[in-house]
Amino acid sequence: MYDVIVIGGGPAGASAAIYLQRFRLKVLMIMKDLGTLGKTNHIDNYWAFENTVSGQHLVEQGVAQAERLGVTVVEEEVIGIENFEDYVVKTTKNEYQGKTVLIATGQAKPNIKVKGFKEYIGRGVSFCAICDGFIYRNKKIGVIGNAEFMLEELEVLRNFTKDITVFTNGLGLPLHIEEEITEKLVTEPLCEIQGDEVVKKVVTEENEYEVDGLFIAIGTPSSNDFALRIGAFTENNYIVVDENHMTNVPGLFAAGDCIGGLLQVVKAASDGAHAAIAINKYLKTLKTV
């Protein structure tokens, strides 16, 4: 059991992990890769670097620093957070238990750009199989996705119907994912989502597919996907937190670009420190078992 599970290894996540470790807490930091910052080549406005520095360098140094100070770091992709008495963070490889969770996964990715998509959100287009799957008992369900996150949603939806079609929307489908799909598979890009009051069909360049519900689980889950499933408030795709960086779900914190504001390294690092201090205080309020 970890005191804190930090999801994300960028400036917010690693800063938080470093502070938390120095409070002598048991900290696990889970990172999928070097994130958005890792793809940024030139940073000229971050304090104390005379010359241009790459985002990759900053992230790698931050992770190395966290590890040197005793933080356990794993490179895995988180596909779900569950909250009962404690938190369970599920990755593609493992499950970890923690008393608190800090989401620091960066800015949520934008939604797909397919005609009709926005119009049908809440009218057949859903982002949460566990919330809405039952509504489509024995009906025709479509799932859009191409990775482990989609498989996770697919597994939930299989409880409700046998009539499922997986749409990759033209995205690459790794072989190990394809092997897990026993349902109809459509790999062409989507052109339009059509219906009347509710979704009726998915149109691709070559075909039309009847669906009653369409679940979105593309690529890896974003911060707002985690927030949605666990019942944390979001606004404009950002997680809503209080002055202590805590969401409306007790013990669930968020920091960095996923909560909005200034999307800069310096602010993310500051968020991480603030969140760490708040988490340390919060943990002291929990009853020791």
């Binding site: 809440g122 009218r123 859903s126 949460c128 566990i130 919330c131 509710v198």
Partner: protein
């Protein structure tokens, strides 16, 4: 306090209500629904006497969920004089919900 509404009581509690009724379609397994519950209780208290808050468990009341074409939960409707006035889908904060329902 919110009132639990069933297919049998829907007409009396919602359609024939003298005050506007916020109807929350929810289920026990839906985390966003559970987190919306305290928001709705707060609204029920704040607006007591002027707006009623009713809850429909979609697991038990499939007929009502179908009738109102609920396809994502939580879905919140505002009924006035027996008619749907607004519909809001998803978890949100109290102020946002009241604004989107047209109550603020």
């Amino acid at each position: 306090m919110s009132v639990k509404v069933t297919t049998e009581t829907f007409k009396k509690e919602v359609l024939e209500s003298e005050v506007p009724v916020i109807v929350d379609f929810w289920a026990q397994w839906c985390r966003p629904c559970l987190m919306l519950a305290p928001v709705l209780e707060e609204i029920a208290q704040d607006l007591a006497g002027t707006v009623k808050v009713a809850k429909v468990n979609v697991d038990e009341e499939g007929y009502l969920a179908n009738q109102f074409r609920v396809s994502s939960i939580p879905t919140v409707y505002l009924f006035e004089n027996g008619q749907v006035k607004t519909q809001v889908v998803g978890l949100m904060r109290k102020d946002d919900l009241l604004k989107r329902l047209g109550l603020k």
